[in-house]
């Protein structure tokens, strides 16, 4: 594994690579905000905020297209090699994952518009909020690894995804119970269940981002590294 410590001889190339990473981080910020606001809109049944989230998703999509164009242009003009090549190709993947997380937020916002009243127990909303907070921590930690990889931290993020999955399963059971208790809850609970599923998927994308960050820095596969460590234990 070799990480570059020095700068390119061609300074404009160096600037473009820096710009690419900055673009990812900016996009990450937009996505984090989208998930946070979508969850707030859901738990408060705030239709105005939900509309804003849906509207803002267009900006995230635009940001992703911008990054794709930037990456394709760099491949064509710079013929990147080694770590630069990995950074550019993996950035395309990261941007796709972020765009998908943005879609998850939009999906939650759309469902919020379908939820009409508040006769669901606040406890169920708090479960979704808790899951959203956990996913946000995961996305944020994943993005930090794109700028500076910490292998142990990267592995921890991947392992923590199991917690997100477990939380989803426990919410699933809770919603099911609630629906059985009172069939009038079925519609709203189904919406909430889909929202939880969206958050669970967002968590999966966060682990994809960590894997891409690991690949950028090492040229290797994080899943392989995790397997090796498991065998050692």
């Amino acid at each position: 594994m070799v990480q570059h410590r020095s700068e390119h001889i061609v300074s404009s190339y160096e600037e473009e690579l820096t710009h690419l990473t900055r673009h990812i981080i900016e996009m990450g910020g937009m996505v984090e905000q989208a998930i946070n606001e979508a969850t707030s809109a859901l738990v408060r049944v705030d239709h105005d905020l939900a509309q804003i989230v849906i509207q803002n998703d267009k900006d995230i999509d635009k940001k992703q297209r911008g990054l794709d164009e930037m990456a394709v242009s760099m491949i064509a003009r710079r013929q990147p090699m080694a770590s630069d090549l990995r950074r550019i190709v993996a950035s395309i993947h990261v941007a796709t994952d972020l765009e998908r997380i943005g879609d998850m937020a939009k999906s939650i916002a759309r469902r919020t518009l379908q939820i009409s009243d508040q006769h669901i127990s606040p406890q169920l909303y708090s479960g979704v909020r808790h899951m959203s907070d956990l996913v946000l921590t995961q996305v944020s930690a994943a993005l930090q690894n794109v700028t500076a990889l910490e292998v142990d931290e990267a592995i921890r993020i991947c392992e923590k995804d199991e917690e997100v999955d477990a939380l989803y399963m426990s919410l699933f059971r809770e919603f099911l119970t609630y629906m059985m208790e009172d069939p009038r809850n079925i519609t709203d609970c189904t919406h909430l269940l889909f929202c939880a599923k969206n958050l669970e998927r967002a968590g999966d994308h966060a682990t994809n981002i960590v894997e891409a960050a690991y690949y950028i820095q090492t040229g290797a596969n994080l899943i392989d590294e995790i397997e090796i460590r498991k065998e050692r234990r």
Partner: protein, 276 residues
């Protein structure tokens, strides 16, 4: 030129003379601790490398890194340079090529070379290709010689373009055609190894693409070593890549690995265009 033999070198280098791993082509050229001195100045330091059979190995590195000097060790072209001294072991098919009683002319028939600038002889196209087989006495009659000339020109992808003017001077061809003529001339003696020192640097992109296509075809029958300043070219044509820096072999490996995930920081800095 003095040849300093250090017969113990191979024994002290880990992996020397070990067979190639399963699935890998056997090494055709093996070098151990090869150093080159121009007078007092050491240009190359202890280069040990196995060059696999029937594949393309590229040497890359900044100007003055020793890659061409090392290439010339493989067919003793450094013999022609005054004050140049080579130490270490260079083996072709297990045979030490620096042995004092070795016939250098015969060696250079077995290890052909193509240079940066196309350098056809001021003779006809036919004579350019026929020259090697003739001086090495490879043919008994004109028919056999004709056969070698035609086959070599075909293999070099030039025959169709020149078949009606084999008696015209080779120097009248375009740059790309002249370089293919030089390749035809080099392969006419049926060498085992073909050394190419920046063979495309004087050619336009189309002529370069034709030569690269040719290199890819030739590797079925020859062991090819190419020195190139174009990393894209090394990435395109070679299966193995060796990176030289300041006279030392820094890293060698599968081309794909070198260009996607080099192990050494110097390799990384060079191929990505960073300050070393």
């Amino acid at each position: 030129m003095d040849i300093v033999q250090d017969q113990t070198a191979a024994a002290t280098v880990p992996g020397a003379s070990t067979p190639a791993p399963a699935g890998e082509p056997a090494a055709r050229v093996v070098t151990r601790d090869v150093s080159v001195f121009y007078g007092q100045k050491q240009a190359l330091f202890d280069v040990s490398i196995d060059i696999p059979d029937r594949s393309v190995t590229s040497f890359i590195g900044p100007s003055g890194c020793g890659k061409s000097t090392f290439l010339r060790c493989i067919n003793r072209m450094n013999d022609t340079i005054d004050g140049c001294r080579v130490s270490g072991i260079v083996e072709l098919d297990g045979e030490d090529i620096n042995r004092p009683d070795l016939d250098v002319v015969e060696l250079r028939a077995r290890v052909g070379m193509v240079f940066q600038k196309p350098n056809p002889f001021p003779k006809s196209i036919y004579q350019n290709v026929a020259y090697g087989p003739r001086i090495h006495g490879m043919t008994r009659n004109k028919a056999e010689l004709d056969e070698i000339v035609v086959t070599s020109l075909k293999r070099a992808g030039l025959f169709e373009e020149v078949k009606d003017r084999l008696d015209q001077p080779g120097t009248g061809l375009s740059g790309g055609q002249q370089q293919r003529l030089c390749i035809a001339r080099a392969i006419a003696t049926r060498p085992e190894v073909l050394l190419m020192d920046e063979p495309c640097s004087a050619l336009d992109p189309i002529a370069t693409a034709i030569i690269e296509e040719l290199i890819d075809e030739l590797r079925e029958n020859f062991t090819i070593v190419i020195v190139t300043h174009s990393m894209q070219q090394a990435a395109r044509v070679s299966q193995k890549t060796a990176f030289f820096h300041l006279g030392k072999l820094i890293e060698t490996g599968d081309t794909e690995q070198i260009f996607t995930n080099p192990r050494h920081e110097k390799t990384q800095d060079y191929i990505t265009g960073r300050f070393g």
